[in-house]
């Protein structure tokens, strides 16, 4: 019997998260034979994500189906170390997602155009011919199979090995450039505003921030991120337990997940012959808030669109694919660079500065508050960064 894997594909996409799903859909709807590989046994699970996403970034990548969105968010509540609540309208609407539903839905679109999909299938190696990648070595159940292709898109997330195997240096070398996260899905949480909440203060979380994102169905994502420096002293799960007891004593956990987000710069090299890397695997994210969904989806869409052109032309050389690298650097990549500068400044802000900022902001007309006001107050001793902040949020 011939296994479906024993074929040759135009494109193999490694990882069926938001990036991989979009890439597979793009290839398949353009008529290219596509194989989508997912290590986990179910697409969309586990949810290692706060699931909050900007509407603009999401709709740039794909027209979202209403079933993916649990509710629309129009404001955010910032909570100071002492518990002062400042409500700020969102600069643009945001969505709370149901990621498992979204990811399965996009993968179904790829399937409709005949993309092959394998779950519980791990990419463990890359096949190479001269200077180019020409396939993937996969493990499925107890079978090891070589699958040939013309191009590989690595969307294998924070744990990516594909980029390393393709010769791109994807190791996060500076441990300050990774945020270690833990998150409960909880029930029995209430907030007066119903907005996503961001909590700051060393008594809550040693650095970065903690969050409570209501899902609109009586549950919420309650989580936090810390740097490696803080994680060396105490595990994120211990800190999360304390945060939950202190700020949400009635909360009851339904699920616990952990994971990490890239908080540094994206990879200098995003392509090799027959190979492209996108999303978390390429270390693409907003370093200020750790959000990576829109970076993942838009990088995947751009990479796959360029790959489709390259496949049609019969040229998947590193030079041809480097168009992706250039376009990313001159587009969303700039946004990440600015967020990186800001993150470094914000991490230096102490609790008394945050408390003072909250005291000022609480007395202002909430409908006129903007994110930039918060940043101005918190990075006020670093004026050059205010300019960067303006560019980031304009």
């Amino acid at each position: 019997m011939k296994l479906p894997l024993e074929q040759f594909y135009d494109a193999i996409v490694v990882g069926a998260g938001p990036a991989g799903a979009i890439a597979a859909k793009t290839f398949a709807e353009n008529g290219f034979s596509t194989l989508l590989l997912e290590k986990d046994r179910e697409i969309g699970l586990p949810v290692r994500c706060g699931e909050l996403v900007g509407k603009r970034g999401l709709t740039l990548a794909i027209n979202p189906d209403p079933s993916w969105i649990t509710h629309t968010v129009n404001g955010v509540t910032f909570v100071s170390p002492k518990g002062v609540r400042v409500n700020v309208p969102c600069p643009e609407p945001a969505y709370m997602l149901n990621r498992p539903v979204m990811e399965k839905s996009i993968v179904q679109m790829a399937a409709k155009y005949n993309a092959d999909i394998r779950v519980g299938t791990v990419a463990v190696g890359l096949l190479r011919k001269k200077d180019a990648i020409c396939g993937v070595k996969v493990l499925h159940h107890d079978m090891a199979i070589d699958v040939g292709c013309r191009i590989v898109i690595a969307a294998d997330g924070i744990e990516s090995r594909m980029a390393k195997l393709a010769g791109l240096n994807s190791t996060i070398t500076d441990l300050n450039d990774i945020g270690i996260c833990a998150q409960y899905r909880v029930t029995n949480v209430e907030s007066p505003e119903g907005f996503p909440e961001l909590h700051f203060g060393k008594n809550i979380v040693p650095d970065c921030y903690a969050w409570m994102f209501p899902k609109g169905d009586g549950t919420a994502n309650l989580g936090l991120g810390i740097t490696a420096k803080a994680a060396g002293k105490e595990s994120p799960v211990q800190i999360l337990n304390r945060f939950m007891t202190l700020r949400f004593p009635k909360a009851k956990p339904l699920a616990l997940t952990v994971g990490s987000v890239p908080l540094g710069l994206y990879l200098k090299k995003l392509v090799a012959g027959g190979f492209m890397v996108v999303g978390d695997a390429a270390r693409m994210a907003n370093c200020l808030d750790g959000g990576g969904i829109t970076f993942a989806m838009n990088s995947a869409k751009l990479a796959a669109s360029i790959a489709c052109e390259a496949l049609s032309e019969g040229d998947v050389s590193e030079k041809r694919l480097s168009v992706f690298e250039k376009r990313w650097k001159n587009g969303v990549g700039k946004q990440q660079e600015r967020s990186y500068l800001l993150k470094r400044a914000v991490l230096k802000v102490n609790d008394s500065t945050i408390e003072a900022a909250a005291e000022v902001l609480i007395n202002k007309d909430p409908s006129k508050l903007k994110y930039i006001d918060l940043l101005k107050l918190t990075v006020k001793n670093q004026p050059a960064l205010i300019l960067e902040a303006i560019k980031l949020f304009k």
Binding site: V122, I172, I178, I180, C181, A231, S235
Partner: protein, 63 residues
């Protein structure tokens, strides 16, 4: 020179999040579907993965 320390892995504690893989400088960690392979020959026992692991599934022990 022989390594003085070695990395040990507790599968019961692991959530397979892959954080350790992201910071490994020698590509010694390979995350599979529900297990992890440690290439001890490549591992330099630098301890970066130990710091990162949210569930403390990796530990540095005397070889």
């Amino acid at each position: 020179m022989k390594k003085k320390k070695t990395i040990t892995f507790d599968i019961q504690k692991c959530d397979f999040c892959g954080s350790c893989v992201a910071v490994c400088k020698t590509d010694a960690l390979i995350l599979l579907e529900t297990s992890m392979q440690i290439e001890q020959d490549q591992c330099t026992a630098c301890g970066r993965c130990v710091i990162i692991c949210p569930f403390r599934a990796l530990t540095l022990e005397d070889a």
